[in-house]
C-alpha cells in the first residue's frame, strides 16, 4: 500500500475514475431490480388501502374475496404477531416495531389515506385487483388533521389516544398529537437576544416532499414448508428488512434469508419495510411465492415522505457580524406515527456556525399523513433553510458579503457543537473560500437575475459493517460487500481493495451479498458505506496482504519482516536470499501448499466518521409577469475528505443539488380539505426534469482527509441536499425584494410576493 499521506495521496487507484464493476448489467437492462424476479407458481399480491384520512376500522369482510376463484390468501393486521414489541435499529431513528407493523397493515384505525388495511394474493394481477374490490371494509370516519400547526392546536383531532407528550414535565394528562418535545440549549440565548445590537427573525414553512426514487417499492417473498423463507427485495439494507420482517412475523432471523435486488434509488426512503412482512404473511398462508409491487400512486400515498415543517428563528448579532445567539422552534410533521427527524434538525441547524448561546426547541407532531421516512440528511434541509435565510437577512442589514459573514461565523476545528461533538478535520472555511474564489461567484448577472449562497452540514455516521476479500486461484480478488450499491459503491469498495492489495482495478470484482453470505451490516444510508464498509473492506484486504507476506516468507524460508509488499508483489529483503519476487498470482497458485485458500472477513463497528460541509451558489431568473423561476447557473462545493471515485462523488453533489432545487421550487404534497392527496403522481408532483437544470459544476475540497479512515474518506451522499433550499431562496428573495419564507417558491407565491396578484 503506497504512502497514503502524499498530496493526492500518491495512490494508484484511489482518486481515479474506473468504470464501475456492475456497470454493464445496468446499461444493458440485465440488472435485476425489485420487480424483475420471477419464480414458478408466483402469485400477485395487492394491498387494500383506506380511502379516508382518519377512520376507525369497524369490520373487514373478506368472505366474498375469498370465494373468488384464483384468490389464494388474504391477510390483515391479525396475521402479524403483535407481541413482537421492542426496539429495532432503523435507518432514520430507532422506531418501535409496533408502529412499523401497524404501518404495514393497520390495526384499530386507518390513520392516513392509503394506509394499508388488508392484502390479497392471487394467481393473476386482474384477479388480485378484483379481489381487492370485493374486500368490504366498514369504517367509522373520524375528523382529520393534516397541517403540523393545526395538529398541535388544542382541540385538534387526536390520532393516538395513548400519546402523551414526552419531554414535558409534568407529563401532560391529556393525549395530543405532539409525540415529543426536544430541548437543546447552551448559554443564555434569551438574554443575549434582549441585549443584542441587531436581531433578525422570521417564520419559515416547508411542505412535505418525497424522495422521488423512480423505482416503486417491490419484493418477492417465499415461505418454505420447513419455515425457512426467502425474500428478494429492493431496499437500502437487506439486514434491516430481515430484522423487521422476522420481528413482525416472530420468526428466528436464521430462518429468513433476504436477497438484495439492485435498488432503483432510495435516498433514505427504503430504510424501512412496507411490503415484505405483508408478502411473507401471504406466502405463509398459502405456501406459494408472492410478489407485491407498489404503483406510483401507492408510493406517494403510503411510503414515507420527509416532514413538512414550521420554524421560528431569531438571530442576535453584533455590528461586526458576529452571531452571538439564536433561538429556534422547529415543528416537524411525523405523519401517522411518531418519529420525525426534528431532533436531527435541532442538532444540525447551527452545526456550521460557532454560536455561543443557543436555544433549540423541537416538536415531533403526528398528523393524518403517511409516516415520514428518512430523506437524505433527514431533518437538516428545513432547519438550514431557516438559518441560511436569516443569515442572509443579517448580511443584507450589515451590507456584508454573504460569504464573508459566513466565514466570520464558521466553525473551525475544536469548536463545540450543541450536541456535544467537537469539530475536527473540518474544511468548511476552505469550502466557503472555494466558492468565493470560483468564477461563478464574481460572474456578471443579467437584469432580472440574482445570486444566492448557502451552507449545509451533515453528521455522517459509521456503524456496523462486514466485508470479505477472497483471492481467486489466478490472483484476482473478489470483494464481498454487505451494502446495496445505491450510487456506485461497488466501484469504491473495489478501488479500496485494489489499492490495498496492489492489484489493478480490473482484477478486483465486487458483489453485494445476501444476509446468509456475509456478516451483519447496517443499511446503506447516513453516508456511511464508503466510510464504514470501506474500512471493513480495507482491513480485510490488509489481513490478506499480511497472510500473503507470511506465505512468501514460508516459501522463501525467511523472516516475515524481510518480506516487502508493494504493488501486489512480495520481494525478499534478506540479502542472503536470491529469490524472484512473488506476485499475488504466483502466491495464489501455491495457496494449497501455504495454508489453503486466501481469504479474510472483517466485521467492525466503524468509529471516527467525520462530518461533511457543503456550500452552494446559484443564480436564478424570475419572469416578473408570471412569477416563474428558472435556475440559470449552479455550483456546489463540498468538504469530502478524500474522493475515492471523484466522478461518483461529483454525482452525489449534483444529485443532492437537483433534489434541493425541486424541494425549493415546485415539490409539495397538495391535500384537499377532506385530507386526500391531490398529486399522487409524477405529473403533478413536479420533480426537476432535464430541461429545468443547467450543468451543475462541482468543487471537491480535499484539504482535510479524515484521519480515522485508511484513505481519508468522509461521507458525501447527504450534505449536498442541505444548502440548495437556502441558496435558491436567497437568490429569489433579492429579485422579489422581500424575504421568501414559504417553500415551495411556486409561480403563484412569487407573483403574489411581487405584488401582482
Amino acid at each position: 500500500m503506497s504512502d497514503p499521506s502524499g498530496s493526492n495521496g500518491g495512490y494508484r487507484v484511489i482518486g481515479s475514475r474506473p468504470v464501475r464493476p456492475d456497470g454493464v448489467d445496468k446499461v444493458t437492462g440485465r440488472a435485476q431490480f425489485g420487480a424483475d424476479f420471477h419464480l414458478p407458481g408466483l402469485l400477485t399480491g395487492r394491498i387494500k388501502r383506506s380511502p379516508h384520512a382518519h377512520a376507525r376500522i369497524v369490520r373487514i369482510d373478506t368472505a366474498a374475496a375469498e370465494r373468488l376463484a384464483g384468490v389464494k390468501a388474504i391477510v390483515t393486521a391479525a396475521d402479524f404477531d403483535l407481541e413482537a414489541a421492542g426496539e429495532i435499529e432503523a435507518g432514520e431513528s430507532a422506531s418501535a416495531i409496533r408502529d412499523v407493523a401497524a404501518n404495514c397493515l393497520a390495526r384499530a384505525k386507518a390513520l392516513y389515506q392509503g394506509h394499508a388495511v388488508a392484502a390479497v394474493a392471487a394467481t393473476s394481477p386482474e384477479i388480485a385487483a378484483e379481489a381487492i374490490d370485493l374486500i368490504a371494509v366498514t369504517y367509522e370516519v373520524l375528523p382529520h388533521v393534516i397541517d403540523v400547526d393545526e395538529a398541535m392546536a388544542p382541540g385538534a383531532p387526536v390520532l393516538h389516544d395513548d400519546m402523551f407528550t414526552r419531554g414535558v414535565s409534568p407529563r401532560p394528562g391529556t393525549a395530543s398529537n405532539v409525540a415529543q418535545r426536544h430541548v437543546m440549549s447552551r448559554g443564555d440565548a434569551a438574554g443575549m437576544l434582549a441585549a443584542a445590537d441587531i436581531v433578525v427573525e422570521g417564520r419559515y414553512t416547508t411542505a412535505a416532499v418525497h424522495q422521488g426514487y423512480i423505482e416503486p417499492h417491490a419484493c418477492v417473498a417465499s415461505w418454505g414448508a420447513d419455515g425457512q423463507s426467502l425474500i428478494w427485495s429492493s431496499s437500502q439494507g437487506q439486514f434491516l428488512v430481515r430484522a423487521m420482517t422476522a420481528r413482525i412475523l416472530n420468526i428466528p432471523l436464521s430462518d429468513l434469508k433476504v436477497i438484495p435486488a439492485e435498488i432503483g434509488g432510495g435516498f433514505g426512503g427504503k430504510t424501512t419495510v412496507y411490503l415484505e412482512p405483508v408478502a411473507l404473511a401471504l406466502s405463509r398462508k398459502c405456501g406459494r411465492p408472492v410478489k407485491i409491487v407498489m404503483s406510483r400512486e401507492e408510493v406517494f400515498l403510503a411510503s414515507g415522505p420527509t416532514s413538512g415543517s414550521s420554524i421560528d428563528i431569531r438571530l442576535a448579532a453584533r455590528r461586526d457580524g458576529t452571531i452571538t445567539a439564536a433561538e429556534m422552534t422547529l415543528r416537524y410533521q411525523a405523519g401517522a406515527f411518531p418519529g420525525s427527524p426534528v431532533h436531527l434538525g435541532c442538532m444540525t441547524a447551527f452545526a456550521c456556525y460557532d454560536v455561543e448561546h443557543l436555544s433549540l426547541i423541537g416538536y415531533d407532531v403526528v398528523s393524518n399523513r403517511p409516516k415520514v421516512a428518512a430523506y437524505r440528511a433527514p431533518g437538516a434541509p428545513m432547519a438550514a433553510f431557516a438559518v441560511e435565510s436569516a443569515i442572509d437577512d443579517l448580511a443584507r442589514q450589515l451590507s456584508m458579503d454573504p460569504i464573508d459573514l459566513r466565514i466570520r461565523n464558521a466553525v473551525r476545528d475544536g469548536a463545540k457543537t450543541v450536541y456535544g461533538a467537537s469539530v475536527r478535520s473540518c474544511a468548511l472555511v476552505e469550502t466557503l473560500e472555494a466558492i468565493k474564489s470560483h468564477p461563478h461567484y464574481s460572474a456578471p448577472l443579467n437584469p432580472g437575475q440574482a445570486r444566492g449562497v448557502a451552507a449545509g452540514f451533515w453528521f455522517n455516521i459509521g456503524g456496523e459493517s462486514s466485508a470479505a476479500v477472497h483471492i481467486d486461484e489466478d490472483g484476482g480478488a473478489t470483494v464481498v460487500s454487505s451494502n446495496p450499491d445505491i450510487g456506485g459503491s461497488r466501484a469504491a469498495m473495489a478501488m479500496m481493495a485494489a489499492e490495498t492489495l496492489g492489484l489493478p482495478i480490473e482484477r478486483v470484482r465486487c458483489t453485494v451479498a445476501d444476509t446468509a453470505s456475509i456478516g451483519f451490516s447496517g443499511s446503506t444510508g447516513g453516508s456511511r458505506v464508503t466510510f464504514a464498509t470501506g474500512m471493513a473492506v480495507t482491513e480485510a484486504a490488509q489481513k490478506v496482504v499480511a497472510d500473503l507476506r507470511r506465505r512468501a516468507a514460508q516459501i522463501w524460508e525467511c523472516d516475515v519482516a524481510d518480506v516487502a509488499w508493494r504493488d501486489g508483489v512480495a520481494t525478499c529483503l534478506d540479502p542472503a536470499k536470491t529469490v524472484k519476487p512473488l506476485s499475488i498470482a504466483a502466491l495464489a497458485a501455491r495457496s494449497a501448499k501455504t495454508g489453503g485458500p486466501i481469504a479474510a472477513e472483517v466485521a467492525l463497528n466503524a468509529q471516527g466518521a467525520a462530518a461533511g460541509y457543503g456550500v452552494h451558489v446559484c443564480d436564478v431568473e424570475v419572469d416578473p409577469e408570471t412569477g416563474r423561476t428558472s435556475i440559470v447557473r449552479y455550483t456546489a462545493a463540498q468538504d469530502v475528505g478524500r474522493a475515492i471515485h471523484p466522478a461518483y462523488v461529483e454525482g452525489q453533489l449534483q444529485g443532492g443539488a437537483a433534489q434541493g432545487v425541486g424541494w425549493a421550487l415546485n415539490e409539495e404534497y397538495v391535500y384537499s380539505p377532506e385530507g386526500l392527496l391531490q398529486n399522487a403522481g409524477f405529473l403533478d408532483y413536479r420533480m426537476p426534469v432535464a430541461s429545468d437544470l443547467p450543468m451543475i459544476d462541482t468543487v471537491l475540497v480535499e484539504t482535510k482527509p479524515n484521519p480515522r479512515h485508511p484513505y481519508g474518506a468522509k461521507g458525501v451522499g447527504e450534505v449536498s441536499i442541505v444548502p440548495p433550499l437556502g441558496a435558491v431562496s436567497n437568490a429569489l428573495s433579492q429579485i422579489v425584494g422581500r424575504r421568501m419564507t414559504a417553500l415551495p417558491l411556486s409561480p403563484v407565491r412569487v407573483l403574489a410576493a411581487l405584488g401582482k396578484i
Binding site: 432514520e92 431513528s93 430507532a94 415529543q180 430504510t271 456535544g420 461533538a421 467537537s422 456511511r528 447527504e718
Partner: protein, 82 residues
C-alpha cells in the same frame, strides 16, 4: 469524576428534569450501570436509544470505551441517516 450532560428530553424525563450529573466511572459500561442504579430505566434508555459524545467525539455504541478522569460525556439521540 465524569461530568455528564444531556440534550435529550427522554433522559431529562427519566432523571427528574436534571440534565447535568457528576458520576464516578472509568468506562462507559460503568457509567451506564451507575446511571441505571440512580435513575431506573435511564441506563437501558442510553443503551438502546442514545449515543455518547465523549470529550467531543461521538460514539454510537462504545460500552468498552475507557473514560478519562474529569472527562465530559454528552448523552445525545442516536444519529442515523437517509
Amino acid at each position: 469524576m465524569v461530568r455528564v450532560l444531556t440534550i435529550s428530553a427522554d433522559v431529562r424525563e427519566l432523571a427528574g428534569g436534571r440534565d447535568v450529573f457528576e458520576v464516578e466511572a472509568e468506562t462507559v459500561a460503568g457509567l451506564i450501570s451507575r446511571l441505571e442504579a440512580q435513575f431506573p430505566g435511564l441506563g437501558h434508555l442510553i443503551e438502546e436509544k442514545m449515543a455518547l459524545a465523549i470529550d467531543g467525539e461521538i460514539f454510537q455504541d462504545a460500552p468498552g470505551e475507557r473514560l478519562r478522569p474529569e472527562c465530559e460525556v454528552v448523552l445525545i439521540p442516536r444519529i442515523a441517516g437517509g
